[in-house]
């Protein structure tokens, strides 16, 4: 194919440029630095550590079983599980904060409006009609009562707002601005009443009372509070969550729950090997304790996440974002966690000896292996490769326009379409060679550092399907996803080079878009409109777990409410559109 001939000639030229050797050396150096900074948490870090170097197994068991303060002791784990359970129970039984807010707002309003014999206006008129000392005292008392009621109410709203960060306190969907508005009304009201009424003259008292009466009508505020949609979870649902992830799991002597069974295993082991002071036996005991711990945390996570999912109701991610307490909500991540943990629970996989993308590159969950380093290294070096690719794309396009050599090429028997396609292909090959180099080199370094272990890799695809794949396959998928990332930026570089024809300008514009993308990742990750930008769809690997193919430096790591199919189509569509535009512009404009 002629396009391949073009690409090969393009790459052949590259071998004569010093830049390529500098790039290679730079990558090699970066790889070495990465190797030094790689510090994975190993499997032994995950294990509990009960017992002393000289102590016996039964001593270690005793600490786990009876200590109320030791981290990961049975008592501590039970406390953690219980507290989540109690939160959920509290939600289903507690008096609604929403109702409280509404009731006291109504009571304050009643004090300010006519009709009620004890209300401010009635007492005020009585005082104006007959300004006796008795009536003055009555007015004083009403004002004081009103003042106190308003202060209490303002405080309630204030406290409520302050406590909003804790999700469990929320029992209705309200936006920050709505709550702020209500708070402001009450705070204004509170400040409108002087603190010390006794010292005021009769005229001042009348004026203050008149002011309060005419300025404050709380009805709009009340209707606003009434308008809040209450969060409701059917009691059957609460029951199901607590049955599945608490009642059937919690430790209970004599029962057949999960934690009871796991505890019995520990107890049996401690009973049989109690006298042993061997390190191996204590490690074995800690392995069993770790399973107990992991099972507890899986249950906690499932219970909490299922509850959170119920609280989200039928709202979408984007809708939830505006409500207080839901700003960090990501339904995709919640579903992903539930899917993974349900799988682990069903398969009784509490040993933690698997790799998962949810804590990818930091904590393998298994003994560190060559792949851990390879993933880690490619994650970092992929960014450097992407930048090299952008440089290369710009230099073979606007660089040629700038030097004028493009006319020497354009007068060869290739249509313009083939010419620009050939350049694209050359850039893909350039990327491929570097990715291959980094992959192989990092695997080799990984083998040298950590050896090679086979562990299953558990992935959650699209938040709802569990896949168990060999590391190698995951690594290839990862590379493919990274390549698509880079191809997007390559396409942008070609488009801008074709438009600007000046290397400096094209490079500047390309990097601007690139840094814009990175910045997006950092600042706009919570915005609902993110899904309408290309950046939200650049990283397909995140649909295999929480991890980004580029550590978030090439693509947005968070999920935005899209799914694998949508993002794939959008990404391919964008790349196609950008490349088509490039071809059209390159084809239409005169070269010289």
């Amino acid at each position: 194919m002629k396009i391949f001939r073009l690409a090969n000639a393009e790459l052949g030229k590259l071998l004569h440029r010093p830049a390529i050797y500098i790039m290679t050396a730079f990558l090699a150096l970066a790889l070495v630095i990465t190797a030094f900074t790689f510090n994975p948490q190993s499997k032994s870090d995950n294990l509990t550590n009960f017992g002393t170097p000289t102590g016996s197994v039964s001593e270690a068991f005793a600490i786990f079983n009876s200590s109320t303060t030791a981290t990961d002791s049975k008592h501590q784990l039970e406390t953690a599980l219980n507290s989540v359970y109690q939160d959920i129970q509290a939600f289903s039984t507690s008096e609604s904060e929403h109702q409280n807010l509404l009731d006291s707002a109504k009571s304050v309003n009643a004090l300010l409006t006519t009709g009620n014999a004890n209300s401010l206006p009635e007492i005020l008129y009585a005082f104006i009609n007959s300004p006796t000392t008795t009536n003055r005292t009555a007015l004083n008392n009403v004002l004081e009562a009103t003042n106190e009621s308003i202060r209490n109410q303002a405080l309630r709203v204030y406290n409520y707002c302050a406590g909003l960060s804790h999700l469990n306190n929320i029992d209705y969907y309200a936006t920050t601005s709505e709550i702020n508005e209500i708070e402001t009304v009450f705070l204004n009201l509170a400040s409108a009443i002087p603190v010390n009424i006794e010292t005021l003259s009769n005229e001042q008292i009348v004026e203050t009372s008149e002011n309060l009466r005419t300025s404050f009508n709380l009805s709009p505020t009340i209707s606003k509070i009434e308008g809040f949609k209450k969060i409701t979870i059917p009691s059957e649902t609460i029951t199901k969550i607590t049955t599945d992830y608490y009642d059937n799991i919690k430790y209970q002597e004599g029962s057949d729950t999960l934690l009871t069974n796991l505890f019995e295993k520990i107890e049996n082991f401690a009973h049989i090997n109690g006298a042993s002071t061997e390190k191996a036996d204590k490690t074995e005991l800690n392995k069993l304790i770790t399973e107990y711990k992991n099972a507890t945390y899986i249950a906690i996570s499932l219970m909490q996440n299922s509850f959170n999912l119920e609280k989200a109701g039928d709202y979408s991610n984007a809708e939830l974002k505006k409500y207080i307490g839901f700003s960090n909500y990501n339904l995709y991540n919640i579903n992903e966690q539930i899917t993974l943990n349900q799988h682990l629970l069903d398969k009784e996989m509490f040993h933690g000896e698997y790799r998962t993308n949810l804590n990818f590159g930091v904590l393998s969950g298994a003994e560190p292996s060559a792949y851990d380093f390879a993933f880690y290294a490619v994650q970092i070096l992929g960014i450097i490769i992407a930048i090299f690719c952008m440089f290369f794309a710009v230099s073979i396009t606007s660089g040629e326009f700038q030097n004028g050599t493009i006319k020497m090429v354009a007068t060869r028997p290739y249509t313009r379409r083939k010419l620009i396609s050939g350049k694209h292909l050359a850039c893909y090959q350039f990327m491929g060679i570097f990715l291959l180099f980094v992959s192989i080199a990092s695997l080799a370094i990984g083998i040298a550092m950590n050896g090679f272990t086979f562990t299953s890799h558990i992935l959650v695809f699209n938040a709802d399907t569990v896949l168990t794949l060999p590391d190698f396959v995951v690594f290839l998928i990862y590379l493919a996803s990274l390549a698509l990332n880079i191809i997007f930026y390559i396409s942008i570089a070609f488009l801008l080079s074709t438009i600007f024809r000046s290397s400096t300008f094209a490079l500047f514009a390309t990097f601007l878009i690139y840094f814009f993308g990175v910045l997006f990742n950092a600042i706009a990750s919570a915005s609902s409109w993110l899904i309408y930008t290309p950046f939200a769809h650049l990283d397909l690997f995140k649909y295999l777990g929480n991890a980004s193919a580029s550590n978030g430096f090439l693509a947005i790591n968070i999920t935005t409410g899209a799914n694998f199919v949508v993002s794939t189509l959008v990404l391919l569509g964008i790349i196609f559109a950008v490349q088509t535009a490039t071809k059209i512009i390159f084809n239409k404009r005169d070269i010289a």
Partner: protein, 314 residues
Amino acid sequence: MEKKTEKNEKSVLRVVNLTKQYGSRNAIDRINFSIKKGEIFGFVGANGAGKSTTMKIITGLAEATSGDVFIDGKRLSNNFEKCIAQVGSMIETPLFYPYLTGFQNLKYFAKLSGSYKRSRIIEIANLVGLTGRLHEKVQNYSLGMKQRLGIAQSLLHNPKLLILDEPTNGLDANGIREIKNFLVRLAKQKGVSIMISSHILAIMESLCDTICIIDKGKIVETKTIDEIKKSCNRFGTHFIRTSKPNFAGMIIQDKFNTKARIAGDKVLFETTEKQLPNIIVELTHNKIPIYSVSEINYSLEDIYLDVIGTDNAV
């Protein structure tokens, strides 16, 4: 219809009503010409006349606003690859990858043409006189060396049609002669058609079969060198320089029955060598001071200036 095809086959390059607009200005305006096999076609015109523009369109670097280019009978716009494969070109200053050697540059272009042969590159380098410096980086080349390399790259794939835009730019006297001889050989022995533009009219006169004069985007004259020489004679064969050109002209016309033409202090007229002494005697007799008498040697330059006028600077 059949006749037309036959005609197309004869001309290696045919340009029909070619127009190129930059903004509202016509850089070239309905240009027509054709070049036969083995013909050397000289393209002359003032700066900005549209020579390069025409050549850019023929080589596909620019798109015509209207009109057609046929190469070997095929329309360029729908057979780009086939047509361009027949064409070797050098448009304006040739530009190369400075970090590659001359050889590597040629190798790259040859590979693009799908016809890389080391021996062929060496052969061509020899022809353009670059052999000794071929393996040096182009960034160290002189202007003339780059020009020679430019000619070399146009020849790599044995084109049927050569489009050379001012190929003599920056060449030394030797280089010019070598290239000229070389191009003539290429045309006459190998049958390559050559379209060439240059401001050095003496070269064009001795090199080209046909001269096409373009002015402000329009073709004003297309003639063979023979035709040009013949038509030149209408101005006369001899001239005298005198302080009284009008009087002298009158006498020559009246007494010798030939047309005289006045140009400054010169009187141009047609006569024979035999008659000339009589004319001089007659003029002297009439007390007309004669400063010099000479044969007229018409050059392309005279014709060119005559056709487009001397005030034709851009």
